[in-house]
Symmetry: C2
Subunit: 315 residues, 2 copies
Amino acid sequence: MSALQQRVPDTPVFDLAPWMQPQMLRVEQALSRWVAADAPAGLGEAMRYAVLDGGKRLRPLLVLAARDAVAPTDGAVRSAALDDAALRAACAVELIHAYSLVHDDMPCMDNDVLRRGKPTVHVQFGEARALLAGDALQALAFELLTPDDPAVSAPVQARLCRLLAHAAGSVGMAGGQAIDLASVGLALDEAQLRQMHRLKTGALLQGSVMMGAACGQADALALAALQDYGAALGLAFQVVDDILDVTADSVTLGKTAGKDAADHKPTYVSLMGLARAQAYAGQLHQQAHAALRASGLQQQGALAALADMVVQRSS
Amino acid sequence: MSALQQRVPDTPVFDLAPWMQPQMLRVEQALSRWVAADAPAGLGEAMRYAVLDGGKRLRPLLVLAARDAVAPTDGAVRSAALDDAALRAACAVELIHAYSLVHDDMPCMDNDVLRRGKPTVHVQFGEARALLAGDALQALAFELLTPDDPAVSAPVQARLCRLLAHAAGSVGMAGGQAIDLASVGLALDEAQLRQMHRLKTGALLQGSVMMGAACGQADALALAALQDYGAALGLAFQVVDDILDVTADSVTLGKTAGKDAADHKPTYVSLMGLARAQAYAGQLHQQAHAALRASGLQQQGALAALADMVVQRSS
């Protein structure tokens, strides 16, 4: 059962599957090529295990959908270089996401043993190699963004690095994880919970959208609207995650269900109750669509459909 | 007592202290400004603890010395933007170095409790916060390199990120740490030991030199010579480290002496004996100077003096 079944009637119809399947294939092939097994002493093997054959690839899809939204529609030839930049950006955000999961699962953090239906990296390869694999994945993300290739312009390379570093760092994902860590067993209010998730999950989801936009042409109005879309989608993602943690089972989720409650972590469900959390997810869903409409961008179908997917997913 | 007292008679005299002191001050002030305490939930505090008030700052000094070596000498005005880029690069390499120490000291890695004469970060702040502080320091390094400021040109920003990501990643520092981890208790031969250190310590030291060079103008010959200088200096640094581990005490080192032997880690001293390791350090020292002479660069005094300092240090 999906977390929330909801229609957004004034969104143009966009069939996500035919768009998504080739994009997923491109991302999987690129990740498999770029996350090389040849790193020494089993490090490459642990890095590939952490990244390949699993995950919904939501962040890469957001990059590529945002890139589509800002791509020229007036008959101008799409730039192969900017397509390459977008693919690199898509893989880089996924590497950051994958490294954060590896470190987050470690015994000193969430101490989780199951991820994407498989043993977590430290269970499979030991804690030390998991730590190093995460570290190396973060470095690789920035290496992917800065190829020694003039075809991907230096301003785009620099901008992608800036957006990703900011989204991943101490006032982004890592900062959100620190708040999460410090808030176990505490009674956060809704504003504090929102701030935690804005950083922990929202920053990288929003960053994915903005990195996709950086691979094309968008005016200030469109960029601001995409920021709003990314913020609403990022928060919706987390609210739905909290809902699924109580409504889904471990097999469906591919990770341990009910863990937040067992760990006494504050969630939207524990704070609002299930019904209000579901209504809040619906409201954020509407906000994401409203931001897209305000953007004035022509090819917003994939972004709109991804917002639907985030809210309507069952795992 | 220094690890090796040695003169290199044909090197021009350069008084390191008057050059080094203002550079150190600039780096300390910049680190203090850029590693903000305002990251949430104590994360900023742990990051500052890991970075400030300690360390020899060898890597930042190498960046700034290399930048000096390639700076224009023909009366052209030094570019303030490239000086800013060099300072950012200097701080970024130090952040990568600092994060690697934080993670390396953790219980699942070297399990060390003393660093720079202070309790290690996980002892002071707990393992989870140490893990996150290291992660956030790596992200901050790339954020520093990519300011939203057209004064630091995008090609320089992109090139600095590329060099740093490569030096820090799976075929650089993190890869070397993985070899180190896998080699405890094994009988490495000299070639394997050299390969481990080339990656673990050498890559970031060499990367520091090349990042400094990227902030100025150097032809292909000079760049190749600086690569050689960085490689020789990087290896010399590690050989001397191994020598000091058996000849110095913990108070002088600011970390636990004799730990490599106690942990049954292969070192140059365990492999070659003390006398041959000292001779090897001397040989690498000569190679570093020879590379500088071959570079044709005019202002190589600071780089030469830093090579002397690396080999002659007592801690």
